[in-house]
Structures are given as structure tokens and as C-alpha cells.
């Protein structure tokens, strides 16, 4: 057996082992990267989802502001209408009530 050729053969095997280790290491590194990528993608999707929810929320707020505004306005209108009706009925019966009160004040039972 040629000693050179024997040494060459062992060398080739060692090199193959090293390359094999690299292949496996690369795969492991890719896996780690991939998992990190998963986290990155999760954050991106979460940010998108949050943005969507924020839009919905802001829409809700502006709707509520409008709704609340219209509610308050309606309430004010109802209140003013009640008070207006009140003053109308007051003016109708005011002199009548005053007369009634005076009648009792000046009608003395002895």
C-alpha cells in the first residue's frame, strides 16, 4: 500500500466530515434565523393588527362623539321644549292662580 495514498484517503475523509459538520451547522443556524424571523413576522403582523384595531377604535370615538353630540343636542332641545311649554302653561294660569291665592288670603273664616 502506498503511504501517500493512504494519507490522502484519510485526509479526504476528514475533509468530508468537516463539510458534513458545516452542512449540519448551517442548517441549525438557518433554523435559529427562521425562528427569529418568525418573531419578526409576528411583530409585523401584530403591528398591522394593532393599526387596524386603532383605526376601528378611532372610528368608534368619532362616531360616539357625533352620536354623543346628537344625543346632547336632542336632550337640550327636549329640555328647552319642556321649559317653553312650562312657561306657556304658566302664563295661561298665572293670573288665575294669583286670584285664587288672593281670594283665600282675603276670605277670613271667623
Amino acid at each position: 500500500m502506498d503511504p501517500f495514498k493512504g494519507q490522502g484517503g484519510i485526509q479526504m475523509l476528514l475533509i468530508a466530515e468537516q463539510e458534513a459538520q458545516h452542512i449540519v451547522s448551517n442548517a441549525r443556524n438557518l433554523r435559529t434565523q427562521r425562528l427569529k424571523q418568525a418573531k419578526d413576522e409576528v411583530e409585523r403582523e401584530a403591528a398591522q393588527y394593532r393599526s387596524h384595531m386603532e383605526d376601528e377604535y378611532q372610528k368608534l370615538i368619532s362616531e360616539n362623539t357625533g352620536s354623543s353630540g346628537s344625543n346632547v343636542k336632542r336632550l337640550e332641545e327636549e329640555t328647552d321644549a319642556k321649559i317653553k311649554n312650562l312657561k306657556k302653561s304658566t302664563s295661561k294660569i298665572s293670573s288665575e292662580v294669583v286670584d285664587m291665592l288672593l281670594k283665600y288670603v282675603t276670605n277670613i273664616k271667623t
Partner: protein, 232 residues
């Protein structure tokens, strides 16, 4: 074994080593992808849930704030209506109070004089005292002195007793009627105040006091006329 065979065997071993490595790498890659998908799905779902809960909480707070605001507005509205109701009733009483001045000012003396007599008789009937003190406005003094005897006589007949002694206070008078000058002072629109001699029993029969009593008594009726059946 010749060199060719040795070389052949080494090549075979090298291929085997590489094949093993590539199979392992492939296995790692496949499981990495699975882990990737599972991990991503789980994390995305967890994040979304967290975000969703956050916004549900914020929306609930908006709803609550909205309800609180409306409730406050509604309450303010009710108070406003109640205040308006009180205001109109007060204005009626005020109008009646002003009219009292006409009773003692613009009527002819006969009507007011008769009123004073009746007021005195009413007090005498309630006090049932043989001797009483009487206070009136200074402006009414002459009218009161005019009717004292007939009031005492009327009381005596009604109560079937001797005519009482009525002492008119010439030192202290009831305050005068409301004018622009004394709008913040005590005032009396007319009428009399009688008291037992020891001062312990008082019969306040001023027009203003009578208006207070009548007003309080008739308030439910007035409110009913104004506000219908709704009890405000």
C-alpha cells in the same frame, strides 16, 4: 486490494458522509419550518388576543364615558326643568305677594277696614284670651282703632263671653309694605298680629303670613295645574 479499490471505497465513504449530513440538514430544515409555522401562529394569536383585549377594554371605557356623560347631561337637564318649575311657581307667589299691596292700598278703606276687623276677630277666636296685645302697621293704625270695638263685640257674641281688652302697641309697629326703598328689609303687606298678654301665644294674621299658609296648602293643586299628573 489494489489502489483503485481503495480509492473507490474512500469515495463511497465520502459520499456516505455527505449524504448523512445532507439528510440531517434536511431534517433540521423541515422541523425548523414546522417550528417556524407553529411558533408564528401561536405568537400571532397571542399578540392578537392581547391587542384585542386591550381595545375591548378601551371601547368599554368609551361606552362607559359616553354613558356617564349622557347621564350627567340628563341629570343637568332634569335639574334645569325642576329649576324652571320652581322659578315659575316662585314668580306666581311673588306676583300674588305684590297684589297684596293692592289689597291694603288701592281698595277703598271700607273693604280693607272690614278685612282688618275680620282678621282681628279670627285671632280673638283662636286666642280666647280676655286681654290681648295687638300690633299693626303704622299706616293701618287709624283703621284698626276704628274697628276695635266692633271686632271685640263680634268676638264676644260669637264666643259668648265678655268683650276682651285689646291693647294696641303704640311703640312697636309692623314694618311697612314693600317698596323700592326697603326691598331688602322686612316688610308687611297688611293685616295684624295679636298675642296673649304674656306674649306666649301669638296669632300672626298678616296678609303675607296668610299668603304663605295658603300657598303651601295649595301648592299641590298649583303644580298639578302646571305640570299635569307627572310628579316632578
Amino acid at each position: 486490494m489494489n489502489d483503485a479499490d481503495v480509492s473507490k471505497q474512500i469515495q463511497q465513504m465520502v459520499r456516505f458522509i455527505r449524504q448523512e449530513a445532507e439528510e440531517k440538514a434536511n431534517e433540521i430544515s423541515v422541523s425548523a419550518e414546522e417550528e417556524f409555522n407553529i411558533e408564528k401562529l401561536q405568537l400571532v394569536e397571542a399578540e392578537k388576543k392581547k391587542i384585542r383585549q386591550e381595545y375591548e377594554r378601551k371601547e368599554r371605557q368609551v361606552e362607559i364615558r359616553k354613558k356617564i356623560e349622557y347621564s350627567m347631561q340628563l341629570n343637568a337637564s332634569r335639574i334645569k326643568v325642576l329649576q324652571a318649575q320652581d322659578d315659575v311657581i316662585s314668580s306666581m307667589k311673588e306676583a300674588a305677594s305684590k297684589e297684596l299691596l293692592n289689597v291694603s292700598h288701592h281698595h277703598d278703606d271700607h273693604v280693607y277696614r272690614n278685612l282688618l276687623k275680620d282678621l282681628i276677630v279670627q285671632c280673638l277666636l283662636r286666642l280666647k284670651e280676655p286681654s290681648v296685645l295687638l300690633r299693626c302697621r303704622k299706616d293701618d293704625l287709624h283703621l284698626v282703632e276704628n274697628v276695635l270695638d266692633s271686632a271685640a263685640q263680634e268676638y264676644a257674641e260669637k264666643a259668648n263671653v265678655d268683650p276682651p281688652e285689646i291693647i294696641v302697641d303704640n311703640q312697636v309697629y309692623l314694618p311697612p309694605g314693600l317698596t323700592h326703598q326697603n326691598s331688602h328689609d322686612l316688610y308687611c303687606s297688611g293685616g295684624v298680629v295679636l298675642a296673649s298678654r304674656d306674649g306666649k301665644i301669638v296669632c300672626e294674621n298678616t296678609l303675607d303670613a296668610r299668603l304663605d299658609v295658603v300657598f303651601r296648602k295649595k301648592l299641590p293643586e298649583i303644580r298639578k295645574q302646571l305640570f299635569g299628573q307627572i310628579v316632578a
